[in-house]
């Protein structure tokens, strides 16, 4: 049912004169300017206390804290003896709305399940990160909790995840442990992050991040399909 809201747009004296309303607006922005400049100045002369002068996180150096429930790049969990938990039951492939998973099963005599994936391909170009594969998996094998979201490359083949990559346990990339010299837990509340339950301050491994990017951009011979290029 439509509801009509009457908005009285009649100009008051204050808005009709323009200047009072304009000064109110200018006062707000000028106040922000001077407060922030004061904070920046305090930081510049070495006083580390007080709130930061901006809410910016300098992204490549400091990453925004990611919630634990974020659906990121896939991985496949392994048993303690190193074999993948995946039994190639094809449920994820069936559940996938984008048809981006393709599994080639094989017999595996050494395991109780007697079945394992010979090949497990995820085409990240197609993936919409819906997480249905994770929901569908009866063996708790596929997960999307790597917190890796910087997935970029100039080659299509780099977006195809294979079994070795899926199995390779990488450290979580998350936020840096500190923000301008202060522990990130102290700063985040000022940036609007009231609930820190979902924040995992993990030490950021910049070298690892660089390697990761370099690998994505250079193209990995192991993942490059034969016949291309």
């Amino acid at each position: 049912m439509a509801r009509f809201v009457r908005v009285d747009r009649q100009a008051t004296l204050k808005t009709a004169l323009y200047y009072p309303a304009v000064w109110t607006g200018l006062w707000i922005t000028a106040r922000h300017f001077f407060v922030n400049m004061g904070r920046h100045t305090l930081h510049a002369i070495g006083l580390k206390g007080g709130k930061p002068g901006s809410t910016t996180l300098q992204y490549p150096e400091v990453m925004r804290p990611l919630p634990r429930v974020l659906r990121s790049k896939h991985r496949i969990k392994v048993h303690e003896d190193g074999r993948p938990k995946c039994t190639a039951c094809m449920l994820c492939e069936t559940a996938c709305p984008d048809f981006c998973i393709s599994i080639t099963p094989m017999e595996h005599d050494g395991s109780p399940e007697e079945k394992a994936p010979a090949e497990f391909r995820i085409d990240l170009d197609r993936c919409c990160f819906c997480g249905f594969c994770v929901e569908a998996c009866p063996k708790d094998a596929i997960y999307m909790d790597t917190q890796i979201m910087e997935i970029s490359s100039d080659r299509r083949e780099n977006f195809i995840l294979r079994l070795p990559e899926l199995l390779d346990p990488k450290p979580l990339i998350c936020t840096g442990p500190e923000f301008r010299g202060k522990p990130v837990e102290k700063v985040l509340p000022h940036l609007g992050w009231r609930n820190l339950d979902h924040v995992t301050p993990v030490k950021v491994d910049l070298r690892y991040r660089e390697e990761q990017l370099a690998r994505l951009h250079a193209g990995n011979p192991a993942t490059r399909p034969a016949g291309l290029e």
Partner: protein, 359 residues
């Protein structure tokens, strides 16, 4: 005669290369940084030389190199000649206006009095208005020569806006001229050095408050900046400089930033006492209660130059603040404000001032 010409050249070089160009370049940086600070951001800080970032100051350099190394593209359907000169017209108008601004008291060196002003014209006031309105040609030529419907529409919006506000601009200054009794800018500044009761300086903003309140928005409308950026409308509607790219587009931007500097200088000169410092006479401070503070002539001179630059910087800052605070006017609102609200007020101001001056 030769000496005079050389002196004028030196002044041009000093003012142009020493004040306007650095300030305009700095303003491109300041606009990004100031808006960032106002919005709790950090702003451009990535351009570095050997790892040195200096608060992003090298972004000025990076911007310049980038825009000037781009292809100088002229659309095949454009009028080549007019298309090429349009940005220079705007730049020229902005630069030339600065010639009549007195940015300091006359300097006496070796018995020879040197006015700190490139050209002390008897019609300085008219000169400002004349060259201020030349800026509209830049918009007209750019829009027309682009031979593009959208650019032309932008230019048309620009013309109607700038012509409307030029009327208010001129009329609001008439009050100042009536009060100070001169159209020569050094005399207008000198007249603002007096005080009421020894305390309140007779600055234009105090003698002509209404004129100031009308002049500032009209002048911002002349510089085509937010909230009057309808000719350009860079955020959604597209404007007269649609077909421009690379160096010529950068020249439009540079012209705009120079207009900010010129406008700051004009407001300072006409309404805020120019180089005058309150209570500072040639011999030193003279306060209303008779107290005096003797200062060396050099100190007085430096204080006055500093006062001019400080006021200039403040008004540049204020314009950036306004630009990043207020939303754009709708076009009919803009014209209604100009013709039906500001123009009658400006006329009223002239009439009332004239009567007060007569009686």
């Amino acid at each position: 005669m030769l000496f005079e010409i050389l002196l004028a050249l030196v002044k041009v070089v000093v003012i142009l290369l020493g004040v306007i160009l650095p300030l305009a370049a700095l303003l491109t940086w300041a606009e990004r940084k100031q808006s960032a600070v106002m919005q709790d951001r950090i702003g451009a800080n990535r351009a570095d030389i050997l790892g040195l970032r200096v608060w992003g100051l090298f972004n000025i350099l990076a911007d310049g190199i980038k825009s000037f190394s781009k292809e100088d593209w002229v659309p095949p359907f454009a009028n080549r000649f007019l298309f090429n000169i349009a940005p220079f017209v705007g730049l020229f108008a902005a630069m030339v206006t600065f010639a009549v601004i007195p940015f300091g008291p006359p300097l006496t060196i070796g018995g020879r009095e040197i006015a700190l002003q490139v050209a002390d014209l008897n019609v300085g006031f008219l000169y400002i208005l004349a060259f201020g309105s030349m800026g509209v040609y830049s918009v007209v030529l750019a829009g027309w020569a682009s031979n593009n419907k959208f650019a032309q529409l932008g230019a048309m919006r620009g013309i109607s806006q700038m012509i409307s506000y030029e009327v208010v601009l001129g009329l609001s200054l008439v009050g100042v001229v009536l009060v100070t009794g001169s159209v020569r800018l050094p005399e207008i500044v000198a007249a603002q050095g007096q005080h009421w009761f020894g305390w309140i300086p007779k600055w234009g903003v105090f003698t002509q408050p209404l004129a100031f309140l009308l002049f500032l928005p009209a002048a911002i409308a002349e510089t085509k900046r937010v909230p009057f950026d309808i000719p350009e409308g860079e955020s959604e509607i597209i404007g007269y400089n649609l077909e421009y790219s690379g160096a010529k587009f950068a020249l439009f931007l540079l012209g705009e930033f120079m207009e900010i500097v010129v406008l700051g200088a004009l407001v300072t000169t006409l309404f805020f006492g120019g180089w005058q410092v309150p209570w500072l006479a040639d011999s030193g401070f003279v306060f209303g209660n008779g107290a005096t503070l003797e200062l060396a002539p050099l100190v007085v001179f430096i204080l006055r130059i500093g006062s001019f630059l400080l006021k200039l910087l403040f008004f540049c800052w204020l314009q950036l603040l306004i630009r990043w605070t207020l939303p754009r006017f709708r076009f009919d609102h803009l014209l209604r404000l100009g013709w039906k609200e500001m123009l009658p007020l400006a006329l009223l101001n002239v009439v009332v001032t004239a009567f007060v001056m007569l009686s």
